[in-house]
Symmetry: C2
Subunit: 116 residues, 2 copies
């Protein structure tokens, strides 16, 4: 079973697919935090703005070529202010591995035997 | 059962207590990433240096009052260069909640009945 979540995205409601089995629903918050607010995929080469918001490197650079604002909070932002947030790239990798492991553990565990 | 890890800390080997049951060992990497390299506790008001290293606000400020270097990579670092890395504070909270949930789920699940 997969989980999803309705999110308000620039004025329109989108269903964001979370790809987590129901028993791992408690990982949903971590999953959300590790996604880019522009493309909704996991952060890919995370860059942090001065206002502490994080985006994929390509997503935020493309955005800033149109508007010099943070897409989350509208603070003035320039490409020069971006700083690599490398720990998020490591967290994405570790989270994906852990999630896979926990799902596997769930599916591999023997079913509860019915009372006879 | 708890897990720990031997780490080299400024020349001396320390045993870092990880506080994870064995079946949650796959969360060890995430746990490590969310800890401060100075105090080894979970990051508390995370601050990121220009060189992308993260510390508790108090830990790094205390350190910089002695030496204007990053404790991890020795890059020149000043207090003015520090930037809040708020997503890490949120990740610490979500991770602690998820870990507790997963441990609880493990302890609450019925034991496999022995074959009679
Ligand atoms: Zn993106
Ligand atoms: Zn912002
Ligand atoms: Zn610390
Ligand atoms: Zn550093």
């Amino acid at each position: 079973m997969a989980l999803g979540q309705l999110m308000l995205v620039r004025g329109s409601v989108k269903y964001v697919y979370l790809d987590l089995p129901a028993n791992l629903a408690c990982l949903k918050n971590i999953d959300n935090l590790l996604r880019c607010p522009i493309c909704f995929d996991y952060l890919n080469i995370s860059m942090m703005t001065k206002c502490s918001h994080n985006f994929c490197s390509l997503c935020i650079r493309k955005f800033l070529s149109y508007k010099l604002l943070c897409p989350v909070c509208n603070s003035a932002t320039a490409e020069l202010d971006l700083r690599n947030n490398r720990i998020l790239d490591d967290l994405v990798k570790s989270f994906q591995a852990a999630r896979q492991n926990l799902s596997k553990a769930t599916f591999d565990s023997p079913p509860i035997s019915p009372k006879t």
